[in-house]
């Protein structure tokens, strides 16, 4: 039930964003992600965007992969 899906914000009107969920458009409350912009990807749970998905975490992933190497 903590299942959440990712979607892209297409349009913002007030607190509500129209989010594209792989072709299906849905209104989503953006009240928890006030800094979200059109074009951002957000994580959506029960009609609310709970977090903005960052594209800048690439470096952290690289670090994690380094951690994985067995030596």
């Amino acid at each position: 039930m903590c299942l959440a899906v990712a979607g892209k914000i297409e349009k913002i009107e007030g607190d509500i964003g129209v989010v594209d969920l792989g072709g299906v458009r849905q209104p989503v409350s953006l009240i928890m992600v006030p800094e979200a912009k059109e074009g951002d990807y957000v994580l959506i749970h029960t009609g609310y965007a709970v977090e903005i998905i960052s594209e800048e975490a690439y470096q952290e992933t690289v670090e994690l992969l380094k951690e994985l190497r067995w030596e």
Partner: protein, 358 residues
């Protein structure tokens, strides 16, 4: 990304080979029910050597909601004639032999909602109908439920309230490590962490020296989380990882936390089958009590009801696997569940029933 995936898989294989050759038995708990389902769906259990056990934790909000809560929800329908909105998972949860789905068939007004916002919209359009949203959840859902209360408050809705069973995961994990010394590592819930931050679970490694990784839900993310935890166990250097960094920040979503803090206060909560866990529940603050269905309708708290023979509690504490319950697949199936672990699509019993033992 392609290269990343292949390097995750390569490291995963390397690490698993070392485990396989060792005489260790490694118990890893995946706390979250969505992880339990994803691990089965991606066939990851079958990729693990026999000496790694994945244990499903208490991370399904429906499964840990006591039967007494269901009975109170029935009371809202029968005595107070409300229209009850709830998440679909709740419909089949038994309470003293009945379910919301049975009451719905009898003509009571039970509606499935994808979002609590559906209930608010309905209440606004139907001012003469008393609307209650009934929701269970963890920190992922808590801010949405809180935001709904704030919206009702701002709009001064008179015919709307919420009947909630909200629980928080960190105190339950603390309880678990104190009561089950067999857990060697944790795969931590990604979406709960998105809200409360990776910081919220650090105590597991810092206070108990148990390796843990906040983990996502795709096959690669799961392999990454498992590999990091297993490697840390093998190296005997307990480490803590945020292995879901593009979604989970160290501090989490501060705005969502602010909403939780504004609307809810902490209190002791009963976890089905496990018992009372101190300060593991979130309850609507006095300020918003007009939106608290418990107060609005004067519901009296009921003592916990535990269905006879159900081992949900033992399973969620990691002491037992679902097939070891004498009722599993016999007296208890998804069509006729005895315990909530068999009802919810995220319950460990339901997952084991659907996908088999491994």
């Amino acid at each position: 990304m392609g290269m990343t995936n292949s390097s995750i898989l390569k490291s995963f294989r390397e690490i698993m080979e070392i485990v396989q050759k060792s005489d260790l038995t490694i118990n890893i708990m995946e706390v979250c029910g969505t992880h339990t389902m994803a691990l089965f769906e991606h066939g990851i259990r079958s990729l693990l050597p026999q000496n790694i056990n994945l244990i499903s934790g208490p991370g399904c909000p429906v499964c840990v909601t006591g039967e007494e809560i269901m009975v109170e929800a029935f009371e809202l329908l029968e005595k107070h004639n409300v229209t009850l909105f709830t998440f679909g998972d709740m419909l089949k949860v038994p309470g003293e032999g009945r379910t919301l789905s049975i009451l719905k068939a009898q003509g009571f007004s039970v509606k499935v909602a994808y979002s609590p916002r559906n209930a608010i919209e309905f209440a606004e359009k139907n001012p003469n109908i008393e609307v209650v949203f009934f929701g269970a959840g963890f920190e992922t859902t808590a801010p949405a439920l809180g935001a709904t209360i704030l919206e009702a408050y701002t709009k001064k809705l008179k015919n709307f309230s919420m009947f909630l069973a909200v629980k928080t995961v960190p105190p339950a994990l603390g309880f678990l490590v104190e009561h089950n010394s067999l857990i060697d590592g944790f795969i931590l819930p990604g979406h709960v962490s998105a809200v409360i931050g990776a910081k919220a679970f650090r105590f597991i490694t810092e206070n108990y020296q148990i390796p843990a990784a906040v983990t996502g839900f795709t096959a690669e993310e799961l392999l990454l989380g498992i590999s990091l935890v297993v490697k840390s166990i093998l190296k005997k250097e307990p480490s803590y990882y945020n292995a879901y960094p593009h979604v989970v920040r160290e501090q989490g979503n501060v705005e969502a936390q602010r909403i939780i803090e504004e609307v809810f206060e902490k209190g002791d909560a009963n976890w089905r089958g496990i018992g009372n866990i101190p300060l593991s529940g979130l309850f609507i603050r006095e300020r918003y009590s007009q939106y608290d269905a418990r107060k609005k309708y004067g519901l009296r708290e009921k003592p916990p009801i535990v269905p006879r023979g159900c081992k949900c509690g033992e399973i969620m504490l990691g002491r037992m696997l679902p097939p070891e319950c004498p009722l599993f697949a016999k007296g208890c199936t998804p069509e006729k569940p005895v315990g909530a672990c068999m009802v919810s699509s995220e319950g460990s019993c339901a997952a084991y029933y659907k996908y088999g033992r491994r």
